[in-house]
Symmetry: C2
Subunit: 167 residues, 2 copies
DNA sequence: CGCAATTGAATTGCGCACAACTTAAGTGCG
DNA sequence: CGCACTTAAGTTGTGCGCAATTCAATTGCG
């Protein structure tokens, strides 16, 4: 088991280049393929994510959508306006709580699901991963995201503390 | 070995939700941690990537930086202007080829490396991955990026061609 | 040489991500 | 009740990422 504390900083600087850059590049590569595939549906990639959430859960307040996707109103408000302009969703203030805005699918938005059903297969094929690899990748990413979010919380709590290895 | 063609579309739609979203979320989670860690250095995450390239390769034309990071001048031009405004790089037209702009580190930019050396360790610790896991993740991401780029090329080359499944 | 094609940066326009702030609605405690 | 606090959306400003366009410099070919 490699002891991280023994690896010199200089080397980590290169390793880091590999990992952070790989993730950055992979994310953009996915974005590019989604962009191509989703063009026919008049959706961007983040808009597609919102539609997936709505197809799965039905109507939701903006807040809930944000929780599913970890996005705040600063990102979602204009995005949802564009989805509404395209005609896929409708936004309406909740009558029970006037602060809340409920987003629900229009007929066009519901119907779009039929046309979107072929998207995942095209992406998975383009990625050229076996289901097992995809599963490995997915679980590693989920773990990393959890750890990083946890660490980010720590940063907020404990300012510029010196090396506090999570272990 | 799971045969992808047997998995129903409906299920893929959910699986896809998992994979694409995981990557998206992980990328943003990394971004958040980098943002925190890099704030002291007056660098954004993409600016940090550029600095890594320059620290490794010395002065480079914009074109070369773009090749290393897969970014075009539309992204790099304003980013490099900001790096120049911060005082980390200087841009100058090449005398041999007036079309080309050479980017080189200033003293401050070179000196920054010393202060950036601790960044990777903090990120790796925050991600809570073992070196082996990091290696697995990195290689999977590299493969996916390659495949996706290749597929994207295919989209460009063969416009609305009939089913040319990548196999 | 002369002119079309190519190349490298930069610019413009759009959309996403996020921080910081604003506004309006709900909640709670004295 | 009244007033401070919290919460949900929205707005503003900055910085990516990318497509499309522009412009100048270079290259290539007749």
């Amino acid at each position: 088991m490699t002891d991280l504390s023994r690896v010199p900083d200089e080397e980590l600087l290169r390793l880091d280049h590999q990992i952070c850059f790989s993730l950055h590049a992979a994310s953009r590569a996915f974005g590019g393929v989604y962009r191509t595939v989703l063009k026919d549906l008049d959706l961007t990639y983040p808009q597609y994510l919102v539609m997936l959430v709505l197809w799965e859960h039905g109507e939701l307040p903006v807040k809930r959508i944000g929780e599913h996707l970890r996005l705040d109103s600063g990102t979602l408000s204009p995005l949802l306006k564009r989805l509404e302009a395209t005609g896929y969703v409708r936004r309406a203030r909740s009558s029970e709580d006037e602060r809340s805005v409920t987003v629900r699918l229009t007929e066009a938005g519901t119907a779009l699901r039929e046309r979107a059903v072929c998207v995942p297969r095209r992406i998975v094929e383009a990625s050229d991963l076996t289901p097992a690899e995809a599963a490995t990748l997915q679980s590693l990413l989920a773990r990393v995201t959890g750890s990083l979010d946890h660490a980010a919380q720590g940063f907020a709590a404990a300012p510029p503390g010196p090396g506090h290895a999570t272990g």
